[in-house]
């Protein structure tokens, strides 16, 4: 009995099907792989791979003795710094004199017998008079200034860059100028963006030509219409042609009259 539920057998199903091998996408590899690897190596504990460092085993003679593990007080160690030298206060040559004993009586009432008046007079007599520094006076009140640093003495006349504008000034001026230019250009651009586009003469001519060509085609069709317009479709066609031609004529007229045309940007 033929069972209708079972799909009918066909000889063409016997043709062995070619197994389609699904192409696996290449295995994902992280882009951080290298850095992670390096990090891993860096953070590895000291003897994780090579084992503990090979050091000499303690000698059996130095066995553990009683009390050796107990903490002992540091002796003298505070005095010595890492360099091994004694601190400066303890150095033999720089030692300050010892604190005087409590019993010692300080020496009092010592006076000098040098005559400061006489020595000063003698010095003043023997002194060489001071040469006055050249000055210039710029006000009637007699305000004096040193001539040397005033720039009035032709001192650096032989220098190479004498009289030229210093370089830093040139640079600064240039920077200022460029900044100004950039600013101007930016302002101009902003203005331009806001403005409307003007149609160039060439473009205008192209538009005109295109319009005229379209008009020509329509006109050709119109001329080729049958003499008797008797059916509604024919009538509709004629009217459509006429409307289109009228529209084109209006457009041509507008573009021909206006020399300068802006295109509104909305």
């Amino acid at each position: 009995m033929r069972n209708m539920a079972v799909p009918e057998e066909s000889i063409y199903n016997l043709i062995p099907k070619e197994e389609v091998k699904i192409q696996k996408p290449p295995r994902y590899t992280s882009t951080f792989r290298h850095s992670v690897k390096l990090e891993e190596q860096k953070n590895k504990a000291a003897h994780k791979t090579m084992g503990p460092a090979k050091v000499e085993v303690p000698s059996p003679k130095e066995y553990l003795q009683k009390h050796t593990k107990e903490a002992t007080l540091a002796q003298k160690s505070a005095l010595l710094n890492s360099t091994g030298k004694p601190p400066r206060c303890l150095a033999e040559d720089q030692k300050r004199p010892p604190v005087p004993p409590r019993t010692e009586q300080p020496i009092l009432g010592i006076q000098t017998n040098k005559s400061f008046i006489k020595t000063n007079v003698a010095e003043a007599v023997l002194a060489v008079p001071k040469k006055p520094k050249p000055v210039y006076v710029d006000t009637k009140k007699g305000d004096k200034h040193l001539l040397e640093t005033s720039g009035l003495v032709p001192k650096y006349i032989k220098r190479k860059d004498f009289g030229s504008t210093p370089e830093y000034l040139v640079k600064r001026n240039e920077e200022v100028r460029r900044a100004q230019e950039e600013y101007d250009a930016y302002v101009k651009e902003r203005l331009k963006m806001g403005a409307m586009k003007q149609l160039s003469e060439e473009e205008r001519q192209n538009v005109l030509e295109g319009l005229k060509k379209n008009w020509d085609e329509l006109h050709h069709d119109y001329q080729g219409l049958s003499v008797v317009i008797d059916t509604p479709p024919k009538k509709a066609h004629k009217e459509r042609l006429e409307a289109e031609m009228r529209q084109l004529e209006r457009d041509i007229d507008v573009i021909e009259r206006q020399k300068i045309i802006y295109i509104a940007n909305n």
Partner: protein, 618 residues
């Protein structure tokens, strides 16, 4: 040869062969390079690459190969053949590496029974058949006979099998009907000295031999179904067994394994793994057909088994499970059919079964078995939903194409067997022809099939039916010497063609104004459909009737094949042979050009299916 006269003919390229002659004892050989299987098919030897699944062919024999062997090193192959009574049968020696024949050894009469190479490739020993009864030792290098001798003593039967010892080039063993001899080669005196093995009261027919690896003893399989173990040195029977449950239909082949176990194949298709001393079965597998050859691949981790039902199985030693490697028909193939518009599949029919094959891989996709019946013709329905077949029990059977279930059968379709069948392209009607000469038209209903009309004009079996593409006309060829063109609307004869021949095949030209017929008179005749007048006749073959014919889709060429075992491609307009295909070893029963004109498939009565490249692809 017939083809020598014309220079224009070119060889048709043989693409592949589906077939294996399982009847040659130990005919299936696994080459020592572990990559190739070598087996005979008719008069061809096929070298099959197991990895790449490619075939190579060694042609050279003029008749069926009766025995086949390969040397231990794999350098040489040797094959013997049968001929007709009174003629000499050749042994051909082949160089394996060059894949060519390197020597033709002719001494034996009628049949070469068995062959064996010596272990170091020095000698080849050949055993003649029953009518020859001699044994000859050949030098492999010079291809000259060294010495010969009668194979068995006067009061014993003829020898059936021969094998060399494993280590010595001087000792070989023959066995046969009541004879078992160990031979020693006396090269100085050019003599073979036999020693008869003493078996006491035991009378056995030795069918196969196997020598132990160290040559200490050898084993003989017998037709009684037991195995004899004989000491090589003393030539005395050591033991035999099994005593009680013998192998039914005889031990047909046996092979020793390195592990000490014995593989025994029996005539009822049982392959057993046995162990001495009492030949207890460790493992057993039932196969189809008698086991005729077991061959070890390498050391025996894998082995191949060939059976007389033309099946090749592969076994893995540890699992001991069979795996079908190749199969084919073991009986004559009667018809081929292609599904509509595809060359990838085809079906063949033979005695007992219908098989569907995949053209490229030669894989058997479906087998429909009807025991003890012969399928004469086969056809696919145009829609591909059923396989219609004509059987010699007078039934038309339709099968489903995937599961092979019986869809319906028309019993008593013809009284003397259905011999030809054709289906209409609208899948509504079948035209069948019977052995009694009637042509009948059947209407296929949804669940019923009924006879529309029976047309009684032919006096003998209808061999071939061809329908016109509009389903309104058909032509039938009959062995009473007539071809009739029928009107399938009024069911009357339109035209009748009479010729002094038994028609075997008929073809419509695609334009359907002409038909070509052929038959046992070996003539191909073109006829006018309109008035049935002959247009021209061409000599189709020098010898043997023409059995199969098919015309290409565009009608420019047609192909014939017949008892001369040649495929011929003809130019339709010139009526001249353009290509000849040599390769069949049996009579060609039928051939077809595949749809899309890719292949020519031809089948013969030795069970081989040959696939040729069609030389005029579209």
């Amino acid at each position: 040869m017939a083809g020598g006269s014309e220079e224009k003919q070119m060889q048709l390229e043989l693409e592949s062969v589906i077939g294996f002659n399982g009847h040659v004892p130990s005919g299936l050989i696994s080459h020592p390079d572990r990559e190739h299987l070598i087996y005979p098919l008719g008069c061809t030897i096929i070298i099959y690459n197991l990895n790449r699944r490619k075939q190579q062919f060694l042609h050279g024999h003029t008749n069926n190969i009766s025995c086949f062997t390969a040397s231990k090193s794999g350098k040489y192959l040797a094959s013997g053949q049968v001929t007709y009574m009174g003629f000499k049968a050749d042994i051909l020696m082949w160089d394996y590496n060059k894949r060519e024949c390197c020597g033709k050894l002719t001494l034996h009469k009628v049949k070469v029974e068995a062959l064996a190479f010596s272990p170091n490739d020095k000698y080849l020993v050949s055993l003649g058949g029953q009518d020859d009864g001699s044994i000859v030792l050949w030098n492999v290098l010079t291809k000259e006979p060294i010495c010969g001798s009668p194979a068995s003593s006067l009061n014993a039967g003829h020898a059936l099998t021969v094998t060399f010892s494993n280590n010595s080039d001087d000792v070989f063993i023959t066995g046969g009907n009541g004879t078992l001899r160990v031979w020693e080669v006396d090269l100085a005196n050019r003599k073979l000295r036999p020693t008869e093995c003493q078996m006491g009261q035991l009378k056995r027919v030795v069918t196969c031999l196997a020598v132990a690896e160290d040559d200490s003893c050898f084993y003989c399989g017998t037709s009684t179904g037991d195995v004899l173990k004989i000491n090589t040195r003393t030539k005395l029977l050591n033991s035999y067994g099994p005593q009680k449950k013998k192998f039914s239909l005889g031990v047909t082949t046996l092979r020793l394994l390195k592990t000490g176990e014995i593989l025994i194949g029996s005539g009822d298709g049982k392959l057993s793994l046995c162990i001495e001393p009492d030949y207890k079965e460790l493992n057993r597998v039932q196969l189809q057909g008698a086991i005729t050859s077991i061959t070890l691949r390498g050391q025996g981790h894998q082995f191949f088994v060939g059976t007389s039902k033309a099946q090749i199985y592969r076994f893995n030693y540890p699992e001991f499970k069979q795996e079908l490697v190749a199969s084919c028909h073991s009986e004559a193939i009667n018809d081929i059919a292609f599904p509509f518009a595809t060359a990838e599949l085809f079906a063949t029919c033979s005695k007992n079964d219908i098989r569907v094959w995949h053209t490229v891989s030669h894989e058997e996709l479906l087998r429909i078995t009807v025991p003890n019946m012969t399928c004469n013709a086969i056809e696919f329905m145009r829609d591909g939903k059923s396989i219609i077949s004509a059987w010699n029990d007078g039934k038309i059977r339709a099968f489903t194409p995937e599961s092979g279930r019986l869809l319906y059968e028309i019993v008593n379709a013809h009284s003397m067997g259905v011999t030809a069948i054709a289906t209409m392209s609208n899948c509504k009607r079948i035209v069948s022809g019977g052995g009694e000469g009637q042509v009948r038209v059947w209407e296929l209903g949804k669940d019923s099939q009924h006879l529309v009309e029976s047309m009684k004009e032919h006096k003998s079996a209808v061999i071939c039916i061809r329908l016109r593409s509009n389903n309104k006309e058909c032509v039938t060829a009959s062995s009473d010497g007539t071809c009739i063109i029928w009107d399938l609307e009024r069911f009357v004869r339109k035209q009748m063609i009479l010729d002094n021949t038994l028609f075997r095949c008929v073809c419509y030209h695609p334009e359907e104004f002409q038909i070509i017929t052929s038959g046992t008179d070996r003539k191909i005749v073109y006829w006018e459909v309109f008035d049935g007048s002959p247009i021209r006749g061409v000599e189709g073959s020098m010898s043997g009737s023409i059995n199969g014919m098919d015309i290409s889709d565009n009608g420019s060429h047609f192909v014939t094949g017949g008892n001369d075992k040649l495929i011929k491609v003809w130019d339709y307009n010139d009526g001249e042979v353009t290509y000849v295909g040599i390769g069949h070893s049996g009579n060609i029963n039928q051939l077809k050009i595949s749809p899309l004109s890719k292949y020519i498939i031809s089948v013969s009565n030795d069970g081989a299916i040959l696939c040729w490249k069609y030389p005029y692809p579209v």
